[in-house]
């Protein structure tokens, strides 16, 4: 193995499944300018995947890419981005990424690789064996048709307990657009499982005994890691506890920092009681209990522990033990998950006996986690469940499904809120069984295409939270006014950006948030109190840009954007400031290539702009403003008729949003009329060749063909 530069493992592995050949490339030489992660994926797609390639074509490429900071001791650095032409993007598949945590990123780097580029299609089912630079394709015929758990177990038995397996389930094998890739039991990347299935690739097992070299001063590195730990809050970087504490001036009942001294992980043996200082760095892992946050007090007694990613003390994947699962449903009594995946089962029901935090809700969550993470089904950020409810309530399912299929569905269980209903429904989706399973597994585009349901009906119904292109809002105007809307216009799937919402929901009072905002983005007016929005201003555009670029940077560096950026902290003595330069400080020390905040943000902007260029190329239009950056109708309405900019509404104003987009495009260096990057902007970002190629197709505003 050659000497590796700091931070990077040094090599990118290429696997051609059509020929069975492997090759490697130098990461820094070939992909250093785009940092890694999504940047590496976008570059591969730009250079190697022709316009018009379908998601399940052999010509599509699937890029598993970690980043410089993955596999190091940097907190929250366990992420892998999986980039491809993305199947659930409707009506036309475009570039997109799924993101997973777990142990895969670190193991891949310890095995000697920063990324794996999967090409072509195998003739028969295979799995990829990667151990310390040794690579093989092995037969997966015996695993095909099985769930992720069995595949993971069998491969782990073959490789050894210290491997990490990323696998697809039945949904991925059957090319469901809503399919996941899952590693470490519950860490899933949405939307890309079907692409893996189309390549006849059941799983990737990685195992490594190497390490990641840190180029900079080790003492400085250790101090920076400790500093980072000191400014961590709980999940989503909520920096105040949910409960009044003698150690905190502020609290917020909506905070995910629910781990209060005296609470117990009741299903641990022996049970673990939370004690000591809430600010202790050795107790960070007790702050978050995702199950207690979503399911209330009852979850504590079922809590076994917090699980999570390599190097992350937050442990947001709460492990639960509910003995009723085995006796009532014949399922594993233990499951783990966070956020939407934890709620996968519960969200299929409009109502549950005992309410959303009762026993039935808990059991529905357990069934959902067990089955969805085994069959490899993605919820599309809960849109799958909202689509199902709307289709059922609007009578579409009754009208469109054949009577035999419709009557075979246990509707009585659904109406009664019986979690056993999921035992029938989830396999239909995972196996794409019948018309219902086939259509739902396609995402929102399924009912639009298959049953002629108009997309406009979804766009007009706020309850769907549908946004555009087959995907829902992801922290939009309900959280952050114009910033949230801008952010939700930019990607080809749900935005998956948390930079903005992690700040506005951090739990600090609005006067503290405004003070910090003034320091960070130039004016306290860059942030509004929730649901009390003011008109657009340039500082909000600056903040929206910052949020998007940091999200992209995190996806490139292997950092978790569900936690970062860390610009606020629990530390009163720091005036609740975090550190806006943390990413560049870590990058510089890891690689030995000094890059300040502005320099790294510029690299992030390059990557984000490459995503834009790919979208422009594959949509064959530069008119992003008209054809892509869409805002649904419900954003401009209020159920009670409240006017925009009044207290208590998230209704936005069309003219103000048009101005917001103007300001955002301008701050990005994009043409205001079309929302497309200008030739100058491509040049400034080191993307001359990209600008040239698009200009030749007439896809750069103002440039001659």
């Amino acid at each position: 193995m050659t000497a590796t530069p700091g931070g990077f493992a040094g090599r990118v592995l290429r696997v051609d499944l059509s020929t069975g050949k492997f090759s490697t490339q130098d990461t820094v030489e070939r992909y250093g300018d785009v940092l890694g992660g999504t940047g590496l994926g976008y570059q591969v797609l730009w250079e190697e995947v022709p316009q018009g390639t379908g998601p399940f074509d052999a010509a599509n490429k699937l890029v598993f890419a970690t980043g410089v900071l993955a596999g190091t001791s940097v907190p929250c650095s366990g992420r892998t981005a999986i980039t491809a032409i993305y199947p659930s993007c409707w009506p036309k598949a475009l570039v997109g990424s799924g993101h997973m945590g777990g142990q895969f990123a670190a193991k891949l780097k310890y095995a000697g690789y920063d990324a794996i580029i999967v090409e072509g299609r195998a003739e028969r089912p295979v799995w990829l064996f990667v151990r310390d630079g040794h690579v093989e394709l092995r037969d997966a015929s015996h695993l095909w048709g099985s769930g992720i758990r069995r595949a993971t177990l069998e491969i782990s038995q073959e490789m050894g307990a210290d491997c990490c397996v990323a696998a697809i389930g039945q949904a991925g094998e059957k090319l469901a657009p809503l399919a996941t890739v899952v590693n470490s039991l519950s860490h899933s990347a949405g939307g890309v499982g079907g692409v893996m299935g189309s390549k006849n690739l059941k799983a990737i097992g990685v195992q490594g005994s190497g390490c990641v070299r840190i180029a900079g001063d080790k003492g400085q590195w250790e101090r920076l890691v400790k500093f980072h730990l000191s400014i961590l809050g709980a999940n989503n970087q909520h920096v105040v506890p949910a409960f009044p504490s003698p150690e905190s001036e502020y609290y917020s009942p909506g905070s995910r920092w629910v781990g209060e001294p005296g609470k117990r992980w009741g299903a641990a043996r022996p049970p673990v009681e939370i004690t000591g200082s809430i600010h202790s760095m050795s107790r960070i892992a007790y702050r978050t209990n995702s199950a207690a946050y979503f399911l209330g007090e009852q979850a504590w007694k079922h809590t076994v522990r917090g699980n999570g990613c390599t190097s992350c003390p937050i442990r947001c994947h709460t492990t639960l033990k509910v003995p009723a699962m085995a006796t009532k449903y014949g399922l594993n009594e233990i499951a783990q998950g966070t956020c939407i995946a934890l709620n996968f089962g519960r969200f299929f029901f409009p109502g549950l006996p005992g309410g959303p935090k009762g026993q039935a809700a808990l059991e529905a969550c357990m069934i959902g986690m067990n089955m969805a993470d085994d069959m490899g089904i993605w919820s599309n950020y809960g849109q799958l469940q909202r689509d199902f409810i709307k289709l059922a309530n609007d009578g579409v399912l009754q009208a469109k499904l054949g009577s035999a299929e419709y009557s075979s569905i246990p509707w009585d269980q659904w109406r009664a809120g019986d979690p056993a209903f999921l035992l029938d429904l989830i396999p239909r989706i995972g196996e794409r069984r019948g018309e219902l399973g086939n259509v739902l597994s396609q995402g929102s585009g399924g009912p639009f295409d298959h049953w002629g349901v108009p997309e406009s009906a979804w766009e007009a119904d706020r309850a769907t939270t549908y946004w555009k292109m087959g995907h829902p809002k992801h922290h939009a105007n309900e959280d952050d006014g114009q910033c949230g809307v801008i952010i939700n216009t930019q990607y080809n799937r749900d935005a998956q950006c948390h930079s903005h919402t992690n700040f506005v929901r951090n739990g600090l009072p609005v006067h503290e948030q405004k003070r910090l905002s003034g320091e960070l983005w130039g004016s306290p007016d860059s942030v509004d109190a929730p649901g009390h929005y003011t008109r657009m201003n340039p500082y909000k555009a600056r903040r929206a840009q910052w949020a998007l670029i940091r999200k992209e940077l995190h996806d490139c560096l292997g950092l978790c954007n569900w936690m970062g950026p860390w610009v606020a902290s629990p530390l009163k003595e720091r005036g609740y400031r975090g550190d806006n330069s943390l990413e560049s400080r870590f990058y510089s020390l890891a690689t030995g290539r000094s890059l300040d905040r502005e320099g790294l943000d510029l690299a992030g902007t390059r990557v984000f702009t490459l995503h834009r260029a790919l979208t422009i190329r594959d949509m064959a239009t530069a008119d992003m403003r008209g054809a892509h950056d869409h805002v649904p109708q419900w954003v401009y309405e209020d159920p009670k008729g409240a006017q925009p900019f009044t207290q208590g509404t998230i209704r936005m104003d069309r003219a103000d949003m048009a101005l917001a987009m103007d300001m955002f495009y301008e701050s990005m260096g994009w043409d205001k009329a079309t929302g497309a990057p200008t030739r100058e902007t491509y040049g400034r970002l080191g993307l001359d060749a990209v600008g040239q190629a698009l200009a030749e197709k007439g896809l750069v505003p103002g440039a001659e063909k």
């Binding site: 001036e249 909506g254 939407i340 649901g531 208590g648 509404t649």
Partner: protein, 188 residues
């Protein structure tokens, strides 16, 4: 008494306040003196005398940069160390004997500062620890009392009761924020 004596007294008193704060106790000057005496602080002839200390202590504690003064609802002047016992928590402890005042002031502070209504069930947990029936009784009693006419409630679609102060928040906004808070766990 020399400046050094005064400085020693000040630090010893501050330490007594810190220790009380670590035990979640607010203390007045008399209690601080008692703690110092128990430690034998006034036993030596060459140290500062008890009466002299009694006269000096209020000023020393009030001026200490690491300590905070709280004017208690009972009229006493109490001291605490915010590092160990935050101002917010200290106020809650001080009001614990008066449920209506306790709830009302917490509701007002939340409506004013964050701004947000608070779920009624907040008061069931520590450090409030009020039984649900006492919370319901307090809400009803506040509705009847002229001192608490600003305290009001909204009920979300999920049936959760949120409390707010109309001095600092409009009802419609309180309803919006309550619904939004509930939605955080239902549509994250």
């Amino acid at each position: 008494m020399t400046p050094e004596d005064t400085a020693r007294l000040c630090e010893a008193a501050a330490q007594a306040v810190r220790e009380a704060s670590a035990e979640l106790r607010l203390v007045d000057c008399a209690e601080v003196l008692e703690a110092l005496a128990a430690e034998g602080h006034f036993a030596e002839e060459d140290t500062i005398g008890l009466e002299e200390a009694r006269a000096l202590l209020p000023g020393l504690l009030a001026a200490h940069p690491a300590l905070a003064v709280l004017e208690s609802r009972t009229g006493r002047t109490l001291h605490h160390a915010p590092e160990q016992l935050s101002r917010t928590y200290a106020r809650i402890l001080d009001r614990k004997g008066s449920p209506l005042l306790l709830m009302a002031e917490e509701i007002r502070a939340n409506s004013r500062d964050y701004p947000r209504p608070v779920p009624a069930e907040l008061f069931e947990g520590p450090p409030f620890e009020l039984p649900p029936e006492d919370i319901a009784h307090a809400v009803a009693a506040m509705a009847e009392s002229p001192d608490y006419q600003d305290i009001s409630s909204v009920t979300t679609d999920t049936g959760a009761v949120y409390l707010f102060s109309s001095q600092h928040m409009e009802r419609g906004y309180a309803m919006f924020l309550a619904e939004q808070t509930e939605s955080l766990t239902l549509a994250p």
